[in-house]
């Protein structure tokens, strides 16, 4: 079982984001970066599949600046076998060039599975995984919540409006992980130490020009302060009234 997992370094969900002076990027000063949480599910799934198979390799790919090495090492500490950083200091806001760079690298890897998170929590594109599948001409199932691999095929489940969709697919394939797929492990301390000795290859890449240009980043408007509408049973009518006339939610 040879599995590739593509991961991204993203700002921690609990960091307060500031927009850079250019108005198009995040001011990274003081921002804590983490492994994209959905990618964490993908890494965990890959490790479990390998452990279940009793053999194989889990290779982790990241596209980004040198700082992404730390993100890769987090996955090595969890148990991945080796990492590859596709290094670029000029990230693209367009998912297509990223997908092209990854696909070019993954093409010759002879992977049974290529896993992604369902989206990166920084840009929400939900695009790179399916684009890589398309570029490699592989079947693709997104946002999976359950996976069962049997030899050359697999059954995946995905949550859809009001229910569960069950799909069968042939391998090799590209899958993207949703929350609930598994409970990711913590990198144990020995894993953190072992990660330093695992191979991490850095390859410079130049992203081609995509068709999409980022014009502006803006913070959402500040939320208005809450208001207590009343106490006890009286509050119910006041709340209904407020939801109807002010919030127009019901």
């Amino acid at each position: 079982m040879k599995i590739a997992v593509c991961v991204k370094r993203v700002p921690d969900t609990e960091t307060r984001i500031k927009i850079g002076v250019d108005g198009k990027s995040i001011d990274e000063a003081g921002v804590k970066f983490i492994l994209n949480p959905y990618d964490e599910f993908a890494v965990e799934e890959a490790l479990r599949l390998k452990e279940k198979a009793g053999n194989g390799e889990v290779v982790v790919y990241a596209l980004g600046s040198d700082a992404s090495q730390e993100t890769i090492r987090t996955t090595l500490a969890m148990g991945a076998d080796r990492g590859v950083l596709l290094k670029t200091d000029t990230p693209s806001a367009d998912p297509l060039p990223a997908a092209r760079a990854l696909a070019a690298e993954l093409k010759s890897g002879a992977y049974d599975l290529i896993l992604f998170g369902k989206f990166a929590i920084d840009d929400y594109h939900q695009a790179v995984g399916p684009m890589v599948a398309e570029l490699l001409d592989l079947p693709c199932v997104t946002a999976i919540g359950h996976l069962e691999v049997n030899g050359g095929s697999a059954v995946a489940e995905r949550e859809v409006e009001g229910g569960i969709e069950v799909v069968e697919l042939s391998l090799p394939a590209v899958l993207s992980a949703d929350k609930g797929l598994n409970e990711p492990r913590y990198p144990a301390l020995k894993g953190i130490m072992a990660a330093k000795k695992k191979p991490l290859e850095v390859k410079a890449v130049t992203l081609d020009a995509g068709g999409v240009t980022l014009l502006e980043l803006a913070l959402p408007p500040a939320r208005k302060e809450g208001r207590i509408v009343g106490e006890g049973p009286d509050a119910v009518t006041a709340l209904i009234q407020a939801l109807r006339s002010e919030a127009k939610a019901i």
Binding site: Y186, K190, M193
Partner: protein, 394 residues
Amino acid sequence: MAFQGVDFYGLDTLLNEDERAVRDTVRRFVDDEVLPIIGEHYLAGKFPKQIIPLMAELGLFGANLPEEYGCAGLNNVSYGLIMQELERGDSGVRSFASVQGALVMYPIYAFGSDEQKKHWLPKLATGEAIGCFGLTEPDYGSNPSGMITTARETKDGWVLNGAKMWITNGSTAHVAIIWAKTGDIKDVKSIRGFIVPTNSKGFSSKDQHGKLSLRASDTSELVLQDVQLPKDAVLPKSGGIKSPLMCLTQARYGISWGAIGAAMACYDEAVSYAKNRVMFGHPIGGFQLQQARLAEMLTEITKAQLLCLQLGRLKDQGTMTPEQVSLAKRNNVDIATNIARETRRLLGANGILAEYQAMRHLANLESVYTYEGTHDVHTLILGQAITGLNAFGG
């Protein structure tokens, strides 16, 4: 919301990637596994034993000891950060790891034979064996040199007699490191360490009931009555009061970091409460008196962090002195206790509830203030380091 740490001076940039990764792993562990259950265990007066295998799996026991014995082989700054995060959960949880690592695994590592190391260290690292450290006696606390527990050498081994008091993990442990005099009762040089399986005949332990502090921790009294041990029970390289004191230096180092964890937990709680609790139409955090409290807390935490980080770097270089550890233990536990008390007060009536952390930490820190050398004892150690004059005798 997950704990974000307190880092007013950008000290994260002074930590390397591994150190941060270790800290973050333990931080997450504490958020997920310790904080949800600690309040009820504290009230019940029970150590949460179910977390022992999880701690072992993460590699938290003896994490700064070498990999060849099944340990994580981390540096001392990482080790300190582990203690910090554990004590952010509860001093009892940190105490458990301190005893296992610094007071049981360390003496076996430092004073043990190859066989003892190979036999015990991997088992202690995996949590398969739990250890305790018996130095204090009913009549010898701050002055352990006065101990009256004896080990007499016989034809085929040793016979131990005596009593030990206030022993963390005492009733949980499979193995006890017992310090005893092998010579005359006045002969401090004859103090040696022994590895004593707790199922040995004549060994008994009793839970110390009625604690109002460190309730989520097992504290026990040990009695050794004609406990017969084989010849190889002695730690061959131990000798004199210096040996147990070397263990205490390791543990005190961890406590210096641990206290920061407890202080950060309280500060974090104080800040969020101050922003949300409205009185006289304003969040109480908008009142100068409460701001002064918070400013004081942040200042002391930042100073304590700097102290520990440098102490850790010195330990990693191999130049740290016991007196430097005394300064850090003394200062950090003291400021943490004050921060816990101020947080408790800032929280008003809620501050007395187990649902909040401050009073639990405050009560815990009173034990931490006393064990591993009381605050006063560390004052005397520093006084002696400064003046060259020993003031212990009065």
